[in-house]
Symmetry: C2
Subunit: 394 residues, 2 copies
């Protein structure tokens, strides 16, 4: 009935969907595997660039040179393939990129990328340990939802995007769940924790291993002037910037009640302080510190990940920042289950966290302190999430 | 109380979150804007590459050279910035990339990218027409959910990922909605329509303009051997391939009942044929053709976008593909509201679609035919979605 074509001819024809797929298909040349995780947990990176004069590898497994990322020279073989093999790496998730004759570029053989502010980076996971927590594994998977909520208390924008993780089984039960609010740092947005932070993978794996309770995780956008992440709002496909107005003027903290109301009205949650947690990294740690003080008896679990603990009340005028010591004493007296502070030894906020702990010690404010290696990095924030989540709602 | 830091010092410190953010911050050099959409709808692309010998621009606004993408030479200024300005472009969404000394690379000033099979491409939207439908605008937004469903009828994998768009207002009502199942082509997955196809933006904008009814859109994974898109399954961060086993062996069609059951059990839907639509592109058009025949009186709205209408019953042995002409007659007699066929004049499947329409004509099977310019491209599939969705559930 229909003109006969063999199945093989058909599938060859079908292989040509769109211009760039064509390009991928017909670009020819040797097939390259990159990155390749080797049995000893070293990783080999390869790039076909016969005409390049110098190719370097940057990655967060290569020590930084002061403020600048470190890099390693790659070596070219007689086919024009540049290659570099690391020493065996700790199990983890790593970002990397190539620098070809001074120009930073992605690995064309690796579509797996993450965006950090205005920079896109390839990723590779080395398994067998911590990296397994960041991998999608054969375990029940939660659901990830991007939705919008009304924030009438925010003077800048009142429609705001939020990312919500609901645990495996949420859809098939009538159970009510505890809620963990998870806040990003400066330059981040509601995509930061789910993409850079691997929240869904970490939670799926911890819940499957019965190391964490099933919980809802709510990832907000802490930039009060933004409706949504770059590219997800009516501002269009613009270039993200680190600096935004209003991120530390008290508006995010004072309008946080809007997201709590949205979550408690739209998800099956336990609307009690013993079933609410909040944590954040860097600027999100600052937001967490203030929100957990400002909303009395609302959060029993609080996490400060590499927190920016300044400015104090003399610097910013919002009611949110008034009488920090007094309200911390109030928070202490109200009681809570966990106040967790994590910081890397090399973090530029290390000293600020020492000072903050001295204040807490002075007023007998109980907290758990976790000092890791490294600095102000997503490597640490993924680690902190994987350690903090198991402590919640016990 | 806490060591005093000025707000300015703080925000400078906070600007350094992670290695690659540091790199972005301290890389120095002139600030480049790329891409830049000009008032006359021409687009200027720029790349800082002082040491490059030749920089070319590829993009789907540049005519292809046979099977290969076309390219335009860019021009270097005295600061080492390469630049190219297109002629005024039709309002649309365009993909592009640079080729630097023979090496394809992303625009480092544009974080907005889409993946098509194993190729990542930058995107730019030219507004003022069709492109506005693909933009996030200040209209009510639907919710996009990535979740997992059980597919016991699929012999390959039984846990499968699916992307679901629910329209604005879904959360705040008790209303039941019609459902539109939207299927990708070969090399695609459950991320294809939402990312490459701009489904959420198209539906938000059409619904806001009252050009489409509020509906749920379900974007499945048509590769029956896959649990999920590359990077979203336990297979890890592998390189996607165009060819997968089983995509046209009848399993996807015969197990499609599992996704219908999941949707109808988990969302507020109208479980009737008059409130079910199905459409797909290329291989997804093939799936749509067969699913809409095979499931009697299930779908009243059917869309074939650049459909692969082969193979016929002689080629594949699944019961799904038996007696195509007889079951099409049955489908005709059962009745439906719309059978829509769209194809580009330059599509390699154009002739196959002519043949298929001849068959339909022969048996007096009613359909609406839309012939566009261009070929087998996402430019056409976004266009078809924007024209097909307004016809549904009227």
């Amino acid at each position: 009935m229909i003109k006969k074509l063999t199945f093989i001819a058909l599938t060859v024809l079908l292989s040509v969907e769109g211009l760039f797929a064509q390009q991928a298909l017909f670009s020819g040349g040797p097939q390259i595997t990159s990155p390749q995780v080797n049995p000893d947990n070293s990783v080999t990176f390869r790039l076909l660039a016969p005409d390049a004069r110098e190719v370097r590898l940057t990655g967060d497994f290569i020590p930084a040179q002061g403020w600048m990322p470190g890099s390693e020279l790659m070596t070219k073989d007689d086919k024009g393939i540049w290659e570099y093999t690391t020493k065996p790496l700790d199990s983890d998730l790593y970002g990397y990129a190539f620098t070809v004759d001074g120009l930073r570029m992605m690995d064309p053989n690796n579509v797996h990328q993450i965006r950090d502010v205005a920079t896109v980076t390839n990723i590779v996971i080395v398994g067998g340990g911590q990296g397994d927590l960041y991998s999608v594994r054969q375990v029940p998977h939660g659901t990830v939802t991007r939705t919008w909520y009304d924030s009438p208390s925010n003077k800048y924008v009142q429609k705001r995007r939020v990312t919500v993780y609901t645990p495996p089984g949420y859809e098939n039960s009538k159970k009510k769940y505890p809620v963990f609010y998870l806040l990003h740092g400066m330059g981040g947005d509601e995509e930061a924790w789910i993409n850079l932070g691997r929240t869904a993978q970490i939670m799926d794996n911890l819940i499957a291993a019965k190391k964490a309770k099933p919980m809802i995780v709510v990832m907000t956008n802490g930039n009060v002037v933004q409706e949504a992440a770059p590219g997800e709002s009516s501002l269009g496909l613009y270039k993200p910037t680190m600096q935004l107005d209003g991120t530390m003027d008290g508006q995010f903290e004072s309008s946080f009640k809007d997201v709590i109301r949205f979550v408690e009205n739209n998800y099956r949650v336990i609307p009690k302080s013993h079933a609410r947690a909040i944590a954040g990294l860097s600027m999100g740690g600052y937001h967490t510190l203030h929100i957990s003080r400002f909303y009395h008896k609302t959060f029993d679990y609080i996490g400060l990940f590499s927190a920016a603990v300044m400015p104090d009340e003399k610097v910013a005028g919002s009611p949110v920042y008034q009488d920090i010591e007094g309200t911390l004493k109030q928070q202490r007296d109200n009681g809570f289950s966990l106040y967790w502070i994590g910081i890397g030894k090399e973090d530029f906020l290390y000293k600020a966290n020492v000072d903050y702990r001295q204040l807490l010690d002075k007023i007998n404010f109980p907290y758990v302190y976790r000092e890791s290696g490294g600095g102000h990095t997503w490597t640490n924030w993924r680690l902190y999430l994987s350690e903090f989540a198991p402590l919640l709602f016990k």
